[in-house]
Symmetry: D2
Subunit: 328 residues, 4 copies
C-alpha cells in the first residue's frame, strides 16, 4: 500500500520552456487544494543535492502563469549522475519531509527521475517541458506551441525584408534531433522548403525546388532548416552551396537561437500546463508513480516514464505533403 | 459517377476569423497543385448571387497566410435565403464553369451550402472558420486558437492595472452561445472565476467565490464572462450586483469586443487552415460532397455537414475542475 | 543650505502606466549608485500614511524594467487630502529616516506632493507617469508611447474585421480631457476621422466626412473617439446618430478600456523612465525640490511642479492637418 | 521660377525599414489631396532606370500603414552609379511626365538623389528610412523606433532563459557604424553592458564589469553589442575571450539579424511617416528641392541633403551614463 503523500517537491530541469511557470503554479495550487504541502526545489537536481528548497503556498505563484522561464530556475547537474549525488539529494528530501516529486523537463529530466525512483523507491511524476516536442507519449510538450508562434512571428518579420528585396532567406530553428518546430513553423510561415532531420531531401532537391520557385514567379523565399537537420552542411555552408549553384540567388541566413525558448506562454501552453499539473499531483495522491502526464487526442493521459524516454515521436507525414502543396 | 471537377469556387461567409486567408490560400494552391482552376467568390453568398468572381492562381495568394480577416470579404445575404437568390447564384456558377464549392465559415455558412447542394446537387465542402469553436465535428475551428491568445494577451494587460490597484475586473469575451473562449482563456489568464452558458454557477456562488478569494489574500481578481452567459444579468448589471453585495470590491468592466476576431493567425491556425484546405479540395476531387473537414484527435477528418450543423459541441468538463483548482 | 539627502522614498500614485516599474528601478539603482538608501512606499500616499514601507536595494528591482503596472502598487487616498493624514505621513517618513521623496504619477500626485512640501518643507521631485500625456512640461509622459502602440495594435485587429465586412467602427480610447492618444493613435491606425476634446468638429462634419469616405471608394472606416470628447454624445449615442443619418452604415462600437494602461513598456518608455529616475534622484542630491523631471526637445529638463500642474499641454495642430490629409 | 509640379514619383531604396509603407501612403495621399498625380517607382533607382512605374491613387495605399517592408520594393542599383544609368532613368521620368521625386531611404539613397538633381536639375526630396538612425538632421529615422521595440522584445525573451539558467548572453544588434540601436535597446532591455562603435570601453573594462556584476549578486546578464562595434573582436571571438578570462561564465551568443528590419511599424513610426510624407510633397509644391525632411525637437524640419549625407549624428552621451547607473 502506498504511503500517504503529505508533501510534494517540484523542480524544473534541462532547457527552460514557456509554460514551466504555469505548470509550477498548477502543482503548487493543486497541492493546496488537496491540503498537502508543496516545496519548490531550485535549480533542478543540483538544488535537490544542495537542499535549496522553499515552501510554496498558493500565493507564492501569483502572477506567474504568463511569465516565460522558470522561477525555480534550471540547471544541469553532473553530480546527480553519481550515486553519491543522488544519495545526498535523497537525504535532503527526507529531511525536508518531502514524499514525492514532480519533475518538469525533457528526456534527461525524466531519466534522472527514473533512476532516482529505482534507487530509493521514491514516487516521481514527470511533466514534459521542452519546446522541441520530442517526447513520446504526448502530442504537445509545454512550450512547443509558444515556440511555434515565436518562430512564425519572427519569420513574418524576415519575410517583410525578404519580399522587399526579392531575397532568399535560410532560417535555422531549434528542435534538437526533431523537426517538429521546423515543419509546423515552416508551414505556418509559408516556407518554400523545409529541411528536417527526419526526411533527407538531398541537396539536389533543394536546388530544384528553389529553381522551380523562381520560375513560378515567386520573388522571395524562405527556407526553414531544423538545427538537427542532417543534410550534411550547416546553414552557412548551405548558403555557400546554393549561391555557388544558383547564382541568381542572394542568400541571407538567420539563426533564431535562444529567443525561441522565452516569452510569455500561449493560451494553449498555459491551459496545458494547468491540466498537467493537476493530473501529476492527483496521480501521486492516487499512489501512482513513474509516469509522465501528457496530452493524447486532446485528453490528459499517463505514459510510463520509461516509454516516454525510449519511445520515438514521429513527425506527421501528412504535413510534409501539405508543405509541398503549399509551396506551389 | 461524379462529374470530374475542373473548377472550384471558394468563399468566406459569416463572421470573419483569423486563418480564413490561410485557408483560402490553401484551397487556391491545392487546386493549382492538381491543375484545376480556382475562382474566388467575393462577399460570401451575396457575391455568388451577384457573380462577383475572380480567378485565383497560386501567386494571387502570396503573403496572406499571416493576415487576419478575409481577402474575399464576408457578408450576410438575406437574398440567398430565398429560392430566387439561390437560383441566381447557381446560374452564375454555371456560367463561370464552377463545378464545386468550398465554403469557409460557421453554422449559417454550412446551412446555406447544404440547402444549395440539395437544390442543385452541387458539390460543397465546408471549412469551419469562426473564433467561437462551436462547430460539431472538429476539436478546433479556424481562428479559435488565435482568439484565445488575443484574449489572454489583453487580460494580461488588464491584470497589470488590476494588480496595481487591487481591483476586480469583469472581462466579457466572445463565443456566442458557447463558453469555449471564456473557459480556456479564463484558465490561461488565471481568472478567479469563469461564467459560461453551459454551467450556471448562480449568483450566490460568484459572491462566495469572490469572498473566498479576498480572504485567501488575493489582492486583485479577474472574472471572465462569456457573452452568451445565462446568469440573468449582463456584465454591467453584474458589476452593480457585486458592488451592492460586496462593498469591499471596486469593480471595473471591460468588454473586449471585435478585436477578438482580428489579428495575425497563430501558427496553429495557419497550419490547420493549410491542412483543411488541402483536404477540402482533394475530397471534392475524390467525388465527395456535403462534408465539413475538421480536426479530430489531431487528425483531419470529415463530418457530414448536416451533423456539423445539428451536433452540439460540449465543453470539456475537466477544464471546469481545473479552473476551480487553479483559483485556490 | 539643504540638508544632505541620505534616504529617498519612492511611490507611485494615481492611475498606473507602463514604465512606472522602470522608473522605480531607476530611482532605486541611482540611489544605490550614489550610496544612499532607498525606501519603497506602497500604495501611494495611503501607504505613506500607514507607514507601508520596504527597503529597496539594486537587486530588489531585478527583472521589472519590462513589466507593466507598478510593483509598489497605487491607490487613491482621501485621507491624504486632510492635514491629519499628511501629518501622519510625515511622521512615518521621519521615523523611517526618509529625507526626500520621488513621486511618480500625474496631476493629482504632483498636487499632493506640492502641498506636502509646502507644509513640511520636505524635498519632493515628480516623475510624470500617465498614459494620457496631459502633463505640462514634458513632451512625453511615461506610458504614453506604450499606450499608443497598444491602441494601434488593437485597431489593426479591428480593421481586419471592419475591412472583411465593409463596416464602420467607432473606437473609444482613453486620454481623460486630452486628445493626445486619440490623435496620434488615430493617425497611426489610419482612422478616417478623429474626435478629440480640443477640437469640436461638430456632428455635421462627421457625417460629411463619412459620406465623402464612402464616395471615395473606401469600403470600411475607423473613427477614433477620445473619451473626453465634447461632441455632446457618448460613443453609443453617436453610433445611433450616425446610423439614423447614414443608413448605409452599419456601425460597431469598441470601447478599449483599461487594457490601454497595461502591458510591457515600449523601449522608448523604458529609456525615458531610466533617464527620468536618474535625474529625479540627482536633482534631489543637488538640493533641488518641487520640480518635475520631464522630456523637452529630447532632453531631460526640470519644470516647477506648480507649472506642471497648472500648465496646459496643447495638442500639435499640425497633426490635425496630417490626419485630414491622410484620410484622403 | 520653379516649374509647377504636376506629377510626383516616389521610391524606396537601400535597406527596408518599418514605416516605409506608411511614408509611401502619405506621399500618395498628399498628392491626391493637392490634386496632383503620383507614380510609384518599383525597386528604387533600378526601377527608375527600367521604367518600372505604376500610377498610385489614394486607394492604392489602403491598409498598408501597418505593414512592414515596402510595397514598392527596394534594390541596390550599380547601374545608377553610372552616368548612362542615370540618363536612362531621367528619360523614363520625362516620358512618364514625372516632375519631382520623393526618395525614401538612407545615405546611399540621398547621395543618388543629389547626384541626379545636380545632373538634371530635377527636384528631389528625401525621407530618412532606415532602422539605424544614422542620418544627420533628424532625431529619428523611420523604422528606428520599431526596431528598438523589436530588439527589446526579443531580449526580454532571451532574458527569460538567461535568468532561468543563470547565464550570460551576448546579443548582437544592427546599426551599421552607429550605436543608437545598441545603446537605447540596451538600456531598455536592462543590459549589463553595452558595446558601441562610438565608445571603446576596452576589453579590460568588459571583464571588470562582468566580475562586478557577478559580485553584486546578479545571476544572469545580457551584454548588447552593436554590429559596428570596434572592440577588435567579433561577437563569437568575444565569447571565447570572456570564457577564457572568466571561467565562471557560460556565454551564449545571439545575433538578431534581419528580423530587426521587419514587422508592423510602431505608432511613432507611422505618425512620423505620415508627417514626413506630407512635408516632402508640400515642400516640392513650394518649389523646394534637395532637402531631407526630418524631425528636430519634435517638429518637422528640413535639412539640405548634402548636410544630411555628410553630417555625423552623435549618440547622446547622457545615455552612456544612464546605462552605467542602471547596471548598478
Amino acid at each position: 500500500m502506498p504511503k500517504t503523500i503529505k508533501k510534494v517537491g517540484v523542480l524544473t530541469s534541462g532547457g527552460d520552456s514557456p509554460g514551466m511557470n504555469a505548470a509550477i503554479r498548477s502543482v503548487v495550487r493543486t497541492c493546496a487544494y488537496h491540503n498537502i504541502e508543496c516545496i519548490g526545489i531550485y535549480r533542478g537536481y543540483q538544488g535537490m543535492i544542495e537542499g535549496d528548497f522553499k515552501e510554496m503556498g498558493p500565493r507564492s505563484v501569483n502572477n506567474i502563469v504568463n511569465k516565460g522561464g522558470t522561477i525555480l530556475k534550471s540547471a544541469r547537474s553532473t553530480e546527480f549522475r553519481t550515486p553519491e549525488g543522488r544519495k545526498k539529494a535523497h537525504e535532503h528530501l527526507l529531511k525536508a519531509g518531502i514524499d514525492a516529486l514532480v519533475v518538469i523537463g525533457g528526456d534527461g529530466t525524466f531519466t534522472g527521475g527514473l533512476i532516482f525512483n529505482t534507487e530509493f523507491n521514491f514516487p516521481v511524476m514527470g511533466i514534459p517541458g521542452t519546446i522541441d516536442n520530442d517526447i513520446f507519449g504526448t502530442s504537445h510538450t509545454l512550450g512547443y506551441d509558444t515556440a511555434l508562434n515565436t518562430v512564425v512571428d519572427v519569420i513574418d518579420k524576415i519575410r517583410d525584408t525578404a519580399s522587399s528585396h526579392n531575397r532568399l532567406f535560410f532560417v535555422e530553428v531549434m528542435g534538437r534531433d526533431a523537426g517538429h518546430i521546423a515543419l509546423n513553423a515552416g508551414i505556418g510561415a509559408g516556407a518554400e522548403e523545409i529541411l528536417i532531420p527526419e526526411e533527407d531531401l538531398g541537396l539536389e532537391r533543394l536546388l530544384e525546388s528553389l529553381q522551380k520557385s523562381k520560375a513560378s514567379g515567386k520573388s522571395s523565399s524562405i527556407v526553414v532548416i531544423a538545427e538537427g537537420d542532417k543534410i550534411g552542411k550547416n546553414v552557412f555552408e548551405l548558403k555557400d552551396y546554393v549561391e555557388a549553384n544558383l547564382p541568381e540567388y542572394d542568400v541571407r541566413v538567420s539563426v533564431l537561437g535562444h529567443m525561441q525558448r522565452g516569452g510569455s506562454p500561449s493560451c494553449f501552453d498555459r491551459v496545458l500546463a494547468s491540466r498537467l499539473g493537476v493530473k501529476a499531483v492527483e496521480s501521486l495522491l492516487e499512489g501512482k508513480s513513474n509516469y509522465m502526464v501528457g496530452l493524447q487526442s486532446d485528453k490528459v493521459a499517463l505514459t510510463p516514464l520509461e516509454q516516454a524516454i525510449k519511445g520515438k515521436t514521429e513527425i506527421d507525414r501528412e504535413l510534409l505533403r501539405v508543405s509541398d502543396i503549399m509551396s506551389t
